[in-house]
């Protein structure tokens, strides 16, 4: 019955909370209870391949939190993220189509991705990732153009190790998904490009690869 005792205490705290007094004064329903669902036991032997995770999705942030890695909010644009790049290695996780681009990636890519994200959970959809603003703005207003080239350059320089993104279910004019076919069949262009940037130059030397040798997908 320990859980019930905790629930009762929590409800008492919520009941007398000033936030709820304010809500009721405004004629809104009080937040007087909590619905618990889901749950599991955290794996203590979690690998930590990333030093930083960027993303707004609760799952992304939760995984980072559980692994003891700093989770940062998604910046407004790639420029402001890249401007803050120092020696610190950045890892960017947003999302990949359900079913997994990783599973259809060309030979070699999958191993790389699996190494980068040993827990497949990190590859699950992140609906609130950087493409979300595109949904809110039917005209992309240069969003992809802002993110795309900057991300590819950063990937080519090895600034981050993993970028999973998606613009597939809403193809705004000029989006990355339409501008150029994916190099690998079934693989999203963004992911394909990022994988290519990391893959062809080898592990350590990919950091010094010249961005100029990497063709931008948007002309």
């Amino acid at each position: 019955m320990r859980f019930h005792a905790l629930m009762n205490e929590a409800q008492m705290l919520l009941h007398e909370h000033p936030v709820n007094a304010g809500r009721e004064a405004r004629g809104e329903l009080a937040l007087n209870s909590i619905w618990f669902w889901g749950g599991g036991v955290i794996d203590a032997s979690k690998a930590r391949p990333f030093s930083t995770v960027v993303g707004d999705d609760p799952l992304t942030r939760g995984l980072a939190l559980a692994a003891g890695i700093p989770a940062r909010a998604l910046p407004k644009d790639a420029g402001s993220m890249l401007a803050g790049l120092g020696d610190e290695e950045w890892r960017w996780s947003s999302w990949t189509p359900r079913g997994g681009a990783a599973s259809r990636a060309p030979h070699g890519t999958r191993a790389r991705l699996v190494r980068a994200v040993p827990r497949r959970a990190a590859l699950r959809p992140d609906r609130h990732a950087h493409t979300a603003p595109c949904r809110r703005e039917p005209a992309p207003a240069g969003r992809d153009r802002t993110f795309g080239p900057a991300l590819f350059l950063a990937a080519a320089e090895g600034a981050f190790g993993l970028c999973i993104t998606d613009v597939t279910d809403h193809h705004p004019p000029g989006s990355l998904a339409r501008t150029r076919p994916a190099r690998a069949r079934g693989l999203h262009p963004v992911l394909a490009r990022v994988c290519a940037a990391r893959g062809s130059a080898g592990a350590a030397s990919s950091r010094t690869r010249s961005p100029a040798s990497f063709r931008l997908p948007i002309s």
């Binding site: 019955m1 320990r2 859980f3 019930h4 905790l6 205490e9 929590a10 409800q11 705290l13 919520l14 909370h17 000033p18 936030v19 809500r23 809104e28 329903l29 009080a30 937040l31 007087n32 209870s33 909590i34 619905w35 618990f36 669902w37 889901g38 749950g39 036991v41 609760p58 942030r61 939760g62 939190l65």
Partner: protein, 87 residues
Amino acid sequence: MHLRVSRDSLGLADTLEVSRAESEALVETLNRHFGPTMLFYPMRPARWYVRFDKAPELQTRRLPRRAGLRSMKSFHPDPTRCVFTRS
């Protein structure tokens, strides 16, 4: 969520507008009280994550999909079965 208990029924509303500030203020109070026993993370205003120091013996269910405040006839207080049961 909002829970309403009357003499012979139980109602809940889960489609509440919650601001980030409200959510964080509530969680701050809860966390100050419970500490690591039951630590909440307000990842989203209306969706929090919680970490227990000891895993509770719970079998939970997703919140039933329902809009507005409705009554739930059946309520099982036995935490080994579930938190709430749909009628």
